[in-house]
């Protein structure tokens, strides 16, 4: 996106600039049917975290999701993000001392360290390689 080729579209979006052509559908559409109140409750959308009633049970699923993971079932059982998983403290402790899980955690940590190392190494190397050019030694 170079500055020279960048158009200013603000007027089209705010209505201060007329469109280059008229609407293709305007002539065939009747007046817009408005059924909702134009004034919103302040907390109506953004601050509504939990509905007053539970969502309706999933019915009439058109088709089962493909593959082994059933999206519908997952959608039905997945708790909201941030909700604690229903797990007892004993199970958590057992999981923590489970050698296989410890190995898994160790390599996940190692992977993160390697990823960071890779990024840093690439950044440092590319900076070092470009030094002569930046210093004007190479053209």
């Amino acid at each position: 996106m170079t500055p020279s080729s960048r158009p200013n579209l603000g007027g089209l979006f705010t209505g201060s600039t007329p469109p280059e052509r008229s609407s293709a559908v305007a002539a065939q559409l009747g007046p817009r049917l408005v059924t909702a109140s134009p004034v919103a409750e302040p907390e109506d959308v953004a601050t509504q975290d939990v509905p007053e009633t539970e969502p309706a049970p999933a019915v009439g699923n058109p088709a089962a999701p493909r593959g082994s993971g059933s999206a519908r079932e997952l959608g039905a059982t997945v708790p909201p993000l941030g909700a604690p998983a229903p797990q007892s403290s004993v199970a958590v402790a057992l999981e923590f001392i489970d050698p296989l899980r410890a190995v898994e955690r160790y390599f996940a940590f190692l992977q993160v360290v390697l990823d960071v190392n890779r990024r840093v190494a690439i950044a440092v190397t590319s900076a070092a390689v470009s030094l002569p050019r930046r210093a004007g030694i190479w053209r």
């Binding site: 960048r6 559409l29 009439g60 296989l100």
Partner: protein
């Protein structure tokens, strides 16, 4: 009260469908009642939401003849879908033909307004409408029926061209729907960690939009392996994150039992990547809902003044 939000860009491949599915799934998972309308003849939303491909004839006939739409209920908890499909190619032809005879068509809004959630007397909180990139009539029909528009874009020049196209259609549609408002632009499909690129493109987009709407602070990262996992299994980002937890337990159990771990159906993405992607969608959904609230608060203040 429902808000009808169109997701559109004049260019294909900028993440409209994936974004629609991700935002809808995120909002529904947080307890909101959501309806998704797929006006794309390609009907790819079915892959993202895992309900398979359909022909879209019900939606097409609702737009052209005012017939009731078939709604796929409970695609997720709190999430209903009006599927798209190839029958929607006929809508453009119907408009041209009716226009030549001076006849009118019902359009999308009356059809959408008739759809109500089941099992509750409350309305949908959000109606998200996915649009096709190359069908101007369908896109303008959606704009004529929407309250808000969100434009997903990538960081390349071609996506900017798509922004110009959608701006012209937006301005034309406001002659029939003066309430249509640009809610914001989402940067989609950027490489994780490309902070300089993201800042540069966001700044360029801000300049292009001329203050008409914000560029959302949350961008959606592109993760090839997560995209393959999600579309292959019909999973949304937050569901992929959950599946990863199960997949890890499964792998560990297989290790413990001494059987082969990778049976060919294991996930390609990493758990941490899936979690970060789910985090992107969660943050964006909150940002979008906050933007709607802010817009409506400003409208009320203007009306009061």
């Amino acid at each position: 009260m429902r808000r009808v939000v169109a997701i559109a860009n004049g260019k294909g491949g900028v993440g409209k469908t994936t974004l629609t599915a991700g935002l809808a799934g995120q909002a529904a998972s947080e307890g909101r009642r959501v309806l998704v309308v797929d006006t794309d003849p390609q009907g790819n939303l079915g892959r993202d939401l895992g309900y398979g491909l359909q022909d879209g004839s019900s939606l097409g006939l609702a737009i052209t003849h005012g017939l009731p739409m078939e709604v796929s209920r409970g695609v997720r908890n709190g999430l209903d879908v009006v599927p798209g499909g190839p029958a929607l190619w006929d809508v453009g032809a119907a408009f041209t033909s009716r226009g030549a005879r001076g006849a009118s068509l019902p359009g999308l809004r009356p059809a959408v307004d008739r759809v109500r959630p089941e099992g509750t007397d409350k309305d949908y909180d959000l109606v998200l409408v996915d649009t096709p990139p190359g069908e101007p009539i369908l896109q303008e029909l959606v704009f004529a029926a929407s309250d808000y528009l969100i434009i997903p874009t990538r960081s390349d020049e071609a996506s900017l061209d798509g922004l110009v196209v959608v701006a012209q259609r937006f301005a034309a549609a406001r002659t029939v729907n003066p309430d249509l408002t640009l809610l914001g632009v989402v940067l989609f499909g950027v490489r994780a960690g490309s902070t300089r690129l993201i800042k540069r493109v966001q700044s360029a987009l801000d300049e292009t939009l001329g203050g008409a709407a914000p560029v959302f602070g949350t961008s959606i990262r592109y993760l090839e392996s997560a995209a393959v996992d999600m579309r292959g299994r019909g999973l949304l980002p937050h569901e992929l994150e959950q599946v990863h937890h199960g997949d890890k337990s499964l792998r560990i159990n297989r290790l413990r039992e001494g059987v082969k771990v990778d049976t060919g159906d294991s996930l390609l993405s990493r758990e941490s990547s899936a979690a970060r992607l789910a985090g992107d969608y969660s943050a964006l959904a909150h940002e979008v809902l906050a933007a709607i609230t802010e817009r409506e608060r400003r409208s009320r203040v203007e009306v009061a003044v």
